[in-house]
Amino acid sequence: MRKVNQKGWLFVLPVVILVAFNALIPMMTVVNYSVQETFGDNVFFWHGLGWFEDILKSDRFQAALGRQAFFTFLILIIEVPLGVIIALSMPRKGFWVPVCLVTMALPMLIPWNVVGAMWNIFTLPDIGLLGYFLNHVLGVTYDMTQNPTAAWITIITMDVWHWTSLVVLLCYAGLVSIPDAYYQAAKIDGASNWAVFRYIQLPKMKQVLTIAVLLRFMDSFNVYTEPFVLTGGGPGNSTTLLSIDLVKIALGQFDLGPAAAMSLIYFAITLFASWLFYTLMTRHDVK
């Protein structure tokens, strides 16, 4: 057991100060805006919970939230199984391990707007590699600036390209920690590949999978830069996710009150959903 030592607070003080400075002050500002109305010139009026009511009832917010939730849902059901499959088929030792790890981690180290720009270039209908291939080799009409379905497929593919490796690396870390004896015992017990996965690999990956799902949920629910650079929310409003809409309202229209209220609702949803995921995925551990 760890020792009780209130001196611990001294050790964490710098962290608390720095994070609080960055988290609490802006958060207070946001809360402050969210309950006021302004007509410019820095004159504010008390507006109560009016903005929250307006936002929650507005079709625009509900549509953006719907798109955001759909995006996150697709991301999770594609990236998590895909990441698990790739991690399972990766080599466990030898020369190819660092090669795989480094090449797979590479997309995560590219600035987010470069990712957007890169995919933009990649998918240009006539001069991008993918765009040209689809339009002129396969003969499929593909232009994500015109067709909402194409735009959706593109932002999903881009996110899969960008973040599946996170799931892969986490699962891989879980897999390499399984001692060989487990696989040998399973072989001797006559277990099928599926049984090995179900009763050995999956239970051992559970902890890292929880982390993976949580991180992928939080990040995909908050995603902004990549889809914004790639599609700008279009065509029309078809890929305007909640975060994109929020920035539009806050920085584009400078509607501070609604933007602030929306931010708080957004944050609350993220927090609640993360907590829900975490509780659901770890509920068996208590027994």
């Binding site: 607070w9 710098p14 500002t29 707007n113």
Partner: protein, 265 residues
Amino acid sequence: MRKRSIIPILYIAFLMLPIYWLVAMSFKTTQEILGGFSLFPQTWTLASYRTIFTDPTWYWGYINSIAYVTINTVISVTVALPAAYAFSRYRFLGDKQLFFWLLTNRMAPAAVFALPFFQLYSAVGLFDTYWAVAMAHCLFNIPLAVWILEGFMGGVPKELDETAFVDGYSFPRFFLKIFLPTIKAGVGVAAFFCFMFSWVELLLAKTLTAVYAKPIAATMTKTASSAGYELGLLAAAGTLTIIPGAIVIWFVRNYIAKGFALGRV
């Protein structure tokens, strides 16, 4: 070769294709790019790179980015070390709640904070400096660093600390001479992740800078929108932003998997 190696090979090919296209694009002439489709550059040119390395608005972007990323990494790891030690060794009032609160800061959408951050850093007079971006990125990097380091420290037996104190080491000397070398892999992994997230983040970095501390990635967006589509230049700048990440990841390649696995949820 085993049959199932086909899966990682296909996946890596999928990852490399857009990167290849970006790099190939950066070596093409504008004429060639707009002229039509070509799989390989027909006439190799370094013109785009020459522009970047001779135009101060471009190359200062790199220097700015590297400057604030480095400052952020140093601050994050330095303050996270004692905090992670406290979380892994001591119990104190509210420790669990504090740990959880730190982690929730990773859940805050950056978009939520963009405007308040602008006002906050303008008010304290740090707007458009490296420090503004470096400090702002602490919001999500410090919790991450604490989390990773706590995981590594938890793997070091407490007997190490006790033996050192019995041997008469003072706390600072023990921490620097004995403890730090023991978890240097963890420090490397934490620094890597701080570097990574600071390097790739753009929304805050763009909001908090105007001229003097503007990151390279922001310079690029400007090119893409205002100066028309100079695709070759954009591709070259993009290619150059991949390099620092690739170098850093090569150094920590043996610890990446471990760095991911550690840490409590």
